[in-house]
Amino acid sequence: MSVLPEASGAWTTSPAHALLRVAERASKRSKSTSRRRMTLICGLAMLGVAIVVILLAPVLASKSPTALDVLHPLAPPLSPGHLLGTDQFGRDTFARILYGGRIDLAIAFGATSVTLVFGTLVGLIAGYFGGWVDSLLMRIVDLFFAFPFLVLIIAIIAMLGPSIFNMFVAIWITSWVSYARIMRAQTVVAKKQQYVLAARTLGYSRTRIMLRHILPNTASAVIIFSMVDAVGNIILAAALGFLGLGAQPPTPEWGTMISDGQNYILSSSWWLATMPGLAIVFVGVAFSLIGDGLADILRPGDR
């Protein structure tokens, strides 16, 4: 890459030469910074596209997701009037993917944001107060971790009855614990910092110290994790839909669509499961890129 001759360590001899070397390195560094930013921008752009397309579903898809076209069941993609074909009842796959995305993205945002906020607060309180408060809260967290998540969620939905709202409830109840654990670990470290002692010296309240002094220094970890978790929640929703515990027919939802389509994969109607699968992959990649980009930008010490 170097435009300069690498002659026998000669670069140390002249200040001008050294300056050039440094400039070269600096430009490399700034390139890598902008590349990092590109990750974030790509992720946000992909997510933006997904959101716009889903919001514009009534405009983009001419068919209703539940309208039956009984004359054309299992029509292949690119057939007239059905861009991505139809399912076994003749429902338009394209329309179902767009409308189904509403539920999946609602889960990505709705389920994740609630657990992010609640788990973060629990972790903050446990870490900052310590003592019996910490022990009590963290034992509750341990209790949740003792069960496999999916089993716990299935149990809760089985109890409440399968519906989209109950799926939200089950995720809210169970998945705040990861945030609590991450946040507690961060808080325990941060509260020993001198700026926290200095804040106490100034007579600030505990709430103020937690929210205005510790949280800004520790939030990056949970925010980054929330992006991973959002992908996890979409996949979880798909899995629950697949098991018949999420969206109920005829409501379109990606997981349910894959589940319905699996019977037809071998009988050459591959698009029924593949198309919603690709939609999940697209949104999942978007969130992952955002998470990666944020991790690079928010990583402490990188400023």
Binding site: T201, G203, R208
Partner: protein, 341 residues
């Protein structure tokens, strides 16, 4: 404001014991002193002699789970009760507004992810109701007061954009935001280079004179202490070993430890190696009876290792030392005798 010299803070027989894995550390063991209105008191001593723990106990900042304090700390504007007995919420009101503290390392005492201005405005509004605009103006005024150039622009900067000396100035501004009556400066210049040290000390003194607040300056550097303090308290092993006017302490120390500290200072006309104090400070776990300094003291007698004295008058008003032989410390013969022995 009360008359200068009237007591502002009285510390009476303060003990702070810390529970550690190795045993009970008697970090502060019977410390008493008084800080008057508009007085600058220096606390000097080696690392680990209880200076910082004393300050933090006064501020109520010791972790309750491991630290146990007895004795009284009376903040006179609040009455005769000990502030150690105040509930958390009232202590919180006292901190910042009446008692403020600045720390040794300015690099870590500010929140790294928030701007200087943001943190300053927070300090200004912590104990007073002010409009956003008024708080901002007060913050800029404080930054100007502590000598930060282009304060309006600097408000937007983050701590990493400030140098060490500038950060300490910003911290002083934050500490003074609510016009405290007493400022505890815990080694405020230790992490700064000598020229900046001098600037910060001058600034502290200037602010102290302007506001009429009192100040406790903690340092292990006797040179710093003698430069700015009216009165000096020398601590060793969690106890006060000598106290008195700065002039008295430097001209006629009455405790062998103080004298040894003074001799350890670099002198312009002295050639050869610096004199250090042989040995190390005592462990504050399972302290033996007798004077804590005895094992390192050239003047130690047999009595010194078996029982120690209280602080006794050592001539001069308010000059007291914790030594059986305080009358002989100033005399050359005693030291020569011990040197030859």
């Amino acid at each position: 404001m009360n008359a200068p010299g009237a007591p502002l803070l009285t510390v009476d027989d303060l003990h702070t014991y810390l529970a550690t894995g190795q045993g009970v550390v008697r970090a502060v063991d019977g410390v008493s002193f008084t800080v008057g209105e508009a007085e600058v008191v220096g606390i000097v001593g080696e690392s680990g002699c209880g200076k910082t723990v004393t300050c933090r106990t006064i501020m109520g900042l010791m972790p309750k789970r491991i630290a146990f304090s007895t004795g009284k700390v009376v903040y006179h504007p609040l009455g005769d009760g000990s502030i150690l007995d105040l509930p958390q919420s009232e202590m919180q009101r006292l901190r910042g507004a009446h008692l403020a503290m600045i720390f040794q390392d300015p690099m870590t005492a500010l929140n790294p992810v928030r701007s200087i201005g943001d943190q300053l405005i927070e300090a200004v509004t912590a104990h007073a109701k002010l409009s956003r605009q008024a708080a901002r103006e007060r913050a800029v005024e404080l930054l100007t007061r502590v000598g930060i150039p282009a304060p309006v622009r600097r408000m937007r900067d983050y701590p990493f954009q400030f140098s060490g000396g500038m950060l300490q100035r910003a911290l002083i501004a934050i500490a003074l935001a609510s016009a405290p009556r007493l400022l505890l400066a815990d080694e405020p210049t230790t992490s700064l280079d000598v020229i900046i040290q001098d600037q910060i000390l001058s600034l502290l003194l200037e602010l102290q004179r302007d506001t009429g607040m009192s100040m406790i300056l903690v340092s292990h550097d006797l040179a710093v202490i003698t430069e700015v303090c009216d009165r000096v308290i020398v601590m060793y092993g969690g106890q006060v070993v000598e106290e008195g006017d700065t002039a008295t302490i430097i001209t006629s120390p009455s405790h062998p430890y103080t004298k040894a500290l003074l001799e350890a200072l670099p002198q312009a006309d002295h050639r050869g190696p610096l004199r250090s104090i042989p040995g190390a400070p005592p462990s504050l776990i399972d302290t033996p009876p007798g004077c804590r300094f005895a094992p390192r003291c050239p003047l130690a007698m047999d009595e010194c290792t078996s029982w120690s004295t209280e602080l006794v008058e050592a001539g001069g008003t308010g000059h007291r030392a914790r030594c059986w032989r305080h009358n002989e410390v100033g005399k050359v013969e005693a030291w020569q005798a011990s040197d030859s022995a």
